[in-house]
Symmetry: C2
Subunit: 212 residues, 2 copies
């Protein structure tokens, strides 16, 4: 279940601006986003937006930092139980219908802003940071379970890249709606890795694999 | 090496319009695309564009059909050697720097138009068709190699979904530039599946995996 965004240490006003930006993006999409329609979603005076951010671009870069912080808060490399932390993280990304329109709006916004990396170098750097941070954290959690003797020896970075490819495809298809069957396939693939391939106790043969 | 787009059976004028649309999208991006700047890239009279297509939207839907046909021509479920066909297809998607700016422009255009599926149902249906057709074709080629006794027994559709997730992530990162290391990781993962996991003769243990 989704409990709302985590606390990212922003002031009340900054948090209200981030919430308004998310709502405006969800309603209007990136192409039609303006400070004016962010202001419409904002309880306080629109002039406060200009006080905090010089332009729409500056506000959106701050919004990307906010997203980065939310993701950073969604997975902790120092978590007490790394396997449990990985499972909670993948469940957070794989989310389902019961999590409601808020989560879908957030995910849609991420995918839409990410497409802008094609044209905007500043966005590219922020998304690069987010992706590298997530893959590094997943890698660290895997390495901790290998050291603890719970996971097999493996190339932890490659496994992290594979997990992220499946999660990214699931996130993308949930948002774009192009091929809903792929979401289930990605969920099955992620849990096949977590349940069968990674743990020493798992059986990495696929059910249909009769070669072993 | 890239030999230019395959023949998709379009008339000379239609082909010239598709080429002009690709160039205009590569130059201006989706947000700033207009019939006018497609016309600038078109050798003949802009009025010919209006003769063929009533609106920019209609032209772009025809352009998506063109992309679908190019992809369909890039992989043949009835190819004589299914394993070779799969390898040629993944190499086509994984492409590299030597393939030049044309291929990158084509890939960038696909990713940019795909993000529009969030807002446009007509685009969503076209991309859904493309993805389902590619996954079904990959599945068919895998099944043919299983039947021929060259590949292990496996869930061919799940393997096709996994291959497509890796290829899609590689394509996306090539275009967005967010995390270039991921392209190599995806290439390694695709060829690990093709060389080690899928063939009966392969050794599906990862090099670092000492559990077998």
């Amino acid at each position: 279940m989704y409990d709302g965004p985590p606390d990212t240490g922003r002031s009340e006003t900054e948090q209200a601006i981030m919430d308004a930006t998310l709502r405006a993006l969800a309603t209007h999409g990136y192409a039609d986003l303006s400070i004016k329609n962010i202001g419409t979603e904002f309880d306080k005076s629109t002039s406060l937006l200009y006080y905090h951010y010089e332009s729409k671009d500056e506000l959106l870069l701050a919004f990307l930092d906010y997203i980065l912080d939310i993701f950073a808060a969604s997975i902790d490399p120092d978590a007490e139980d790394p396997d449990e932390e990985l499972r909670e993280f993948v469940s957070y990304i794989l989310t389902d219908e019961t999590d409601g329109p808020e989560v879908l709006a957030f995910q849609r916004t991420i995918i839409e802003l990410r497409a802008q990396t094609i044209h905007k170098e500043s966005y590219r750097a922020k998304f690069g940071d987010i992706e590298t941070r997530m893959i590094e954290t997943v890698k660290t959690l895997i390495e901790r379970e290998i050291e603890a003797g719970h996971y097999r020896e493996m190339d932890a970075e490659m496994m992290a890249e594979n997990l992220m490819a499946f999660l990214y495809r699931a996130l993308d298809v949930r948002v774009t709606g192009t091929r809903p069957e792929s979401i289930d396939a990605m969920r099955d693939s992620v849990f096949f890795l977590l349940d069968n391939v990674m743990p020493l106790s798992g059986d990495p043969a696929r059910p249909e694999d009769t070669s072993n």
